[in-house]
């Protein structure tokens, strides 16, 4: 089975957002394309430094005794290049390249002081490395920034394995009033009837957001899908599915969610919830769901003693707890 394609078809959600935007696979953002390009460039450059250090040294204006150094730099370059090409979220990889660039700069500057160095060529090389560093910094910054959206919609998928039966998990989730126990931002869910429910969420600065949602699919012990009704302040759809884990290891719970960010303060609040990595919020929600189902409690450190006046836990709580 081709997992790549089977998974993406699995996640075809027919939400408002998908209807408005381009259905199908998520397109690469420009930042990602730039990062990938830089990655391949790094691998190429690294390979060259590795197999032809002599020529590289000459091109760079380094004295010929620096062959091992060039090789090391080449390996480093290739390693971070591979890091970028293979990682899906490459901000960290590009940042690590920035650090590597710094090392190269330091090495080149040191070589500059060597008597046998070809100063003019070295200057060109230095300039090139500085340029590459700047490009890396810019790309890394772009990648680190903000929520990635596709036509304004945020899409999140997360899954976890829980050592409980599908029936138990489905039953707990289907009782929507349980959801605030593990969904960080959801304060309250009131059930109107079999299909309809009213959701209250609290954002940063205590901004209160309310909307009505309806169930669009409900297969006992297997799947629950819901979405906000037309005209709701937040355009949101989600699916949770419960599948038996192979090897009798309980149940794989997978959540797919899609949000179209509204404009204005509500949109800002929603965006702030999700922080830099929207899937993290859902992942942590699922983790807490697992904690409740496996241990009966959401484990916390809130309220424990520390030798400080003010809690610093907000740093770690932000968007996740």
């Amino acid at each position: 089975m081709d997992l790549t394609t089977s998974r993406s078809t699995l996640r075809q959600l027919h939400t408002h957002a998908a209807r408005n935007g381009e259905p199908g696979t998520v397109t690469q953002t420009q930042e990602e394309r730039l990062a990938k390009g830089l990655g391949w460039f790094g691998i190429g450059l690294g390979l060259m430094e590795l197999v032809a250090p002599h020529q590289c040294a000459r091109m760079a204006g380094l004295p010929s005794g620096h062959r091992p150094l060039i090789r090391v730099m080449g390996l480093r370059e290739m390693a971070s290049g591979f890091g970028i090409v293979t990682q899906s979220t490459s901000a960290a990889a590009v940042w690590s390249r920035v650090v590597g660039d710094m090392v190269d700069l330091a090495c080149l500057s040191a070589a500059f002081l060597s008597r046998r160095a070809d100063r003019s060529r070295l200057t060109t090389t230095l300039a090139a490395v500085v340029g590459a560093t700047v490009l890396d910094v810019v790309t890394a910054q772009q990648l680190s920034r903000g929520v990635k959206t596709r036509n304004g919609a945020v899409r999140v998928t997360a899954s976890t394995v829980i050592d409980r039966s599908r029936e138990e998990l489905y039953r707990f989730w289907r009782e929507f009033s349980n959801l605030p126990r593990f969904m960080k931002h959801v304060r309250q869910v009131d059930i109107h009837d079999e299909q309809r429910s009213h959701w209250v969420a609290i954002g940063p600065a205590e901004a209160r957001i309310e909307w009505d949602a309806q169930i669009i699919e409900d297969l006992p012990d297997e799947i629950i899908a819901w979405r906000s009704i037309d005209g709701a302040v937040i355009d949101q759809a989600g699916t949770v599915r419960f599948e038996p884990a192979i090897g009798n290891r309980g149940t794989v719970v997978t959540v797919d969610m899609e949000y179209r960010l509204p404009l204005g303060t509500v949109g800002a609040a929603v965006a702030a919830w999700f922080g830099k990595d929207p899937s993290q919020t859902v992942k942590m929600d699922l983790r807490r769901f697992k904690q409740i189902m496996e241990t009966g409690d959401v484990i916390t450190t809130k309220g424990q003693p520390a030798g400080r006046e003010e809690s610093t836990s907000w740093k770690y709580d932000r968007a996740v707890r």
């Binding site: 650090v99 983790r287 241990t295 409690d297 450190t301 003693p305 030798g307 400080r308 740093k315 770690y316």
Partner: protein, 388 residues
């Protein structure tokens, strides 16, 4: 209550903090009777571990008496005397059921951070940065113990605190390190680092049937204690560890190698400065000098066991040696709870008395001085036990 708190690089202070309370249904509150400083806490002390916050209470090796239990606690009662395992484990998840307690999926509220760094999160750990949950530690008069049914071993009378305290960490850690070597009759085990974990690894290797143990360090008192445990010793400042190991093993190398040093390794030579430099430039977080040598020295088809703590990235990992020599690398935070019963039995039978490792006894109020002399390895300091 009084607690020893972290305030920055080499800045510990004993201050007044509120008493702990029950926060989860499986919690208990333990009144601490003895607590120790662990070598791995020096990484926090020297500020090598990110996500420490000013005021965090230190300590993951402690024992005491239960004075309060939460509503869901089943097997522990007020008045029980217990030793607490340093990893916090729920007892219900996939890993806990396999007794891989340090990999508990449910005990780290900050799992998302560790996931970014490691791909997956290990269990929560007391007093060991917010990356492992930000749990308040046991260098205090009282401590909250989550999942107390799973995380503690009950101690009946007949043992002193010092005989059983190290079940919390260093004894099982040294033991697991040796157990991972799958020691066979006639085996030689080489151990880098003769700190407390190294000392327990030496004795555990013999308990598990090693023929010969070779211990490597540079501090005379540690090498002395290693020889007391039956090991042959190498002072790596006086001789090249690799060369000497080859000489005494007929060039074949030790059957298994234990890195009980971790990320702040020290060793003479340019590689040490290479790693120091890269660490200072934040492009390498750990210094894997002992690990590299252990890999190079280990015999073909042997095992490299790593109880030493690593936190991030290393450079120049001799992967070619690992692959071409068909080495097995085994590592992990200790599944301390798994070793509670068998090790308590060994102590009971008199096969080992863990109190041998204690060199310093002091009051909790003196914890900052304790960290200072332990960090400088002054005054022959190997293990410090504190009482409130």
């Amino acid at each position: 209550m009084k607690a020893n708190c972290w305030y920055g690089k080499r800045d510990m202070r004993v201050v007044d903090v509120p008493d702990p309370t029950i926060l989860n249904r499986h919690d208990a509150i333990v009144k601490v009777t003895s607590t120790a400083i662990c070598g791995s806490e020096l990484h926090l002390y020297n500020d090598f571990v990110p996500t420490m916050e000013q005021g965090d209470i230190m300590g993951h090796e402690f024992m005491g008496e239960i004075i309060e239990v939460g509503p869901a606690v089943k097997d522990r009662r007020v008045g029980d005397r217990v030793v607490v395992a340093f990893p916090i484990s729920c007892g219900h998840c996939f890993f806990c059921k396999k007794e891989l307690y340090s990999l508990c999926e449910n005990s780290n509220p900050n799992a998302w951070m560790a996931e970014k760094l490691f791909g997956h999160s290990p269990a929560g750990i007391y007093g060991y940065s917010h990356l492992t949950g930000g749990f308040a530690g046991g260098q205090a008069e009282y401590v909250r113990v989550p999942f107390v049914d799973v995380g503690t071993v009950k101690i009946e009378t007949g043992f002193t605190d010092e005989q059983v305290l190290f079940l919390s960490d260093i004894f099982p850690t040294g033991y697991m390190a040796a157990e991972q070597c799958n020691i066979q009759e006639g085996d030689t085990v080489a151990i880098w680092g003769c700190g407390p974990v190294g000392q327990f690894a030496i004795r555990s290797a013999f308990l598990l049937g090693a023929e010969r143990v070779i211990a490597i360090d540079r501090f005379p008192e540690r090498l002395h204690m290693a020889r007391d445990g039956g090991a042959d010793t190498i002072n790596y400042e006086e001789a090249d560890g690799y060369d000497l190991l080859m000489q005494v093993t007929g060039g074949r190398g030790p059957d298994s190698c234990i890195d009980a040093v971790g990320l702040e390794a020290h060793m003479p030579g340019p590689l040490y400065y290479y790693d120091r430099l890269k660490q200072a430039m934040m492009s390498e977080s750990d210094r894997p000098i002992a690990l590299r040598q252990a890999i190079m020295a280990c015999r073909n088809g042997g095992t490299v066991s790593v109880p030493g703590v690593y936190g991030g990235m290393i450079d120049k990992m001799p992967m070619g040696a690992v692959m071409n020599k068909a080495l097995t690398i085994k590592t992990g935070q200790t599944h301390a709870q798994h070793y509670f019963k068998p090790l308590l039995e060994r102590i009971g039978k008199g096969e080992i008395d863990p109190s041998f490792v204690v060199t310093h006894r002091m009051k909790l109020a003196d914890a900052p001085q304790g960290f200072d002399i332990f960090n400088r390895k002054e005054d022959g300091c190997i293990k410090i036990v504190m009482t409130p």
